[in-house]
Symmetry: C2
Subunit: 388 residues, 2 copies
Amino acid sequence: MSRMPAQVRDLIRDLPDSKIREVSMNSIGKEGMIALWFGESDEETPSFVREAAKAAIDAGETFYAPNSGIEPLRVEIKAYMERVYRRDFDLNRFTVTASGMNAIMLSFQALVDPGDNVLVVSPVWPNCSETIRIMGGEIRPVGLDETDGAWSLDLQKLFDAADGRTRAIFVNSPGNPTGWMMSEDQRDAIMAWAREKGIWIIADDVYARLVYDRHHAPAFIEIAEPEDRLISINSFSKSWSMTGWRLGWITAPPALETQLGKLNEYNIAGPTTFVQHGGVAALRDGDPYIDGLVERLRRRRDLVTQSLSRFSRVRYTQPDAAFYAFFAVEGMDDSLKFALKLRDEAGVGIAPGIAFGPQGEGYLRLCFASSEQALSEAMERLRPYLDK
Amino acid sequence: MSRMPAQVRDLIRDLPDSKIREVSMNSIGKEGMIALWFGESDEETPSFVREAAKAAIDAGETFYAPNSGIEPLRVEIKAYMERVYRRDFDLNRFTVTASGMNAIMLSFQALVDPGDNVLVVSPVWPNCSETIRIMGGEIRPVGLDETDGAWSLDLQKLFDAADGRTRAIFVNSPGNPTGWMMSEDQRDAIMAWAREKGIWIIADDVYARLVYDRHHAPAFIEIAEPEDRLISINSFSKSWSMTGWRLGWITAPPALETQLGKLNEYNIAGPTTFVQHGGVAALRDGDPYIDGLVERLRRRRDLVTQSLSRFSRVRYTQPDAAFYAFFAVEGMDDSLKFALKLRDEAGVGIAPGIAFGPQGEGYLRLCFASSEQALSEAMERLRPYLDK
């Protein structure tokens, strides 16, 4: 009997593996390793959130939930968004998702037909691009420019990259890995341009609250009208230290409520029911936690900056947002190889810039959401490699 | 400034809404309603599973997990599969997923290019077909035949439906909604045919253990070689009463481990970490629970059968597996309308047959995984509509 080898679609076979995972693989939890590779705080989820989830488990919240999320969570999301952005939102604009990642996948399933293209402000977390690829779309990276370690966006470059098949632009501001933050002027200009062209904006707003020079980052959702072609993506992972919970939300035009509900149903049928109750507590009681987290992160950023700014091979300006130091290393032309070397020789886990697209080559990304003690030790270990 | 209305892909816009949700919408939890519409037991998740998840929350299992699932869960899945199917499996064949639904989505993302077709043994739970559609694939339903309420598959009809673009066949046995169970002979014949043609088998095995005349249902995974083009899908929802947890797993050829890991990463980055620890307890300690559940379900099935077999308008044979009564109603030509009437007049929530494809019209699906008291009351309420 003949048998053909097990094979997936060419497009899936060719999907790049995460190069962050390549560095971390088999080394997670390794004795003595200082792991700064993932976009994850070293803090456990705050106890008031954990207790709420446990109480929901005890209360028997173990059954299927509605497609758009449980009502109490949607209500808390609405209250949170109104509190942060000081404007009104209707409840039908919110869909609960099983993580920010899942929200990105649902968005591109909703929007991208094979052959459509999406402009992606880069370098950026690779996962968003891969979802476009899975749906048969074309990714068009639009590079941020770096000067003395600071990142900026050339709007004309963005606008020029669009054509008749451009369905959406993906903007992650504050951005992973660069920490780049869109200005209010740029936000207004992009919004006006996208409106006129009928192009969707997918705004990855997961770092909106991890900002060091103001209360929250400038966001399209602050100025958009309900019917604008805007999908704002949010996540509980970063601001409430809930990475392992897989919980996020989408804010979209009312017309998309039913569509996103269907896509939730056909992708996963909504996030874990009692996890959603944890989300209720996070939003209701979590503002002081975020304030404290931002203060801790600010100290950690400053600590890392103090070292990096003294290392002779490093080009870097500290970011005003997110929790990454993304810095250039003079003479490093293979960031993956260099990251593996740092892992194996120095015992410091760092993400290679190439993980964030070709434009990221020459850079390294260090997540500074770890204890000051771990960061100090990491900087000591990195010194011989970065300061010579 | 011009503005275009918010619009998704035509294909997503046209995606049918779940007609089960259409009946249940706004009526979930309604006073006095006996809800038998979802494929969900009325039992809370057993306490040993809930306690394990709570302990994991206390232990700080709130961080990102590996793409293929946490190691202890993969090890327990391997032990469970070896216990049930009495053969060896390598660990690299298992990928943990955020529900059976999510496993179906990942599978079709891996396999279906636009224009490919998938044969789907029908009537069937609608969600699997919709994932094919989202990926731009064509669904080819292959109808089961019903005689006196019993369902059977004509193999020749299945084989004849394939052509050069047939990428996979989707077999849900034991099946939702019909309770149809593939025989061992049919399993062997389909496996041989699919091997020869190089066609993938996607086996939705989520009801494999809810069987009343033997230990487990005949399954492709019992006879397949590791390299066979077979994806077996499983879920914690039904056998361990964990619908709201969103946890499942895939058993696939080793060659797919990396591919499915990537797709997990780009869809959701894996299910909730502490939920996976609940899964460990379910598999390790859950065999007696399943035995007890099957006994309870058997009594409930018999109770429902006793009534249905006496109702003059009903054509029905009790199934040997799953937890649904799927029965024809004489003279009913609009099952959605009829289900809405039963909901509004009798206070009984039932899924309309049309929810499972055109071939389901003329039928109703009643989930009998509820208490005997609720089922007795439901049958009394249904009598005036089904027995006249």
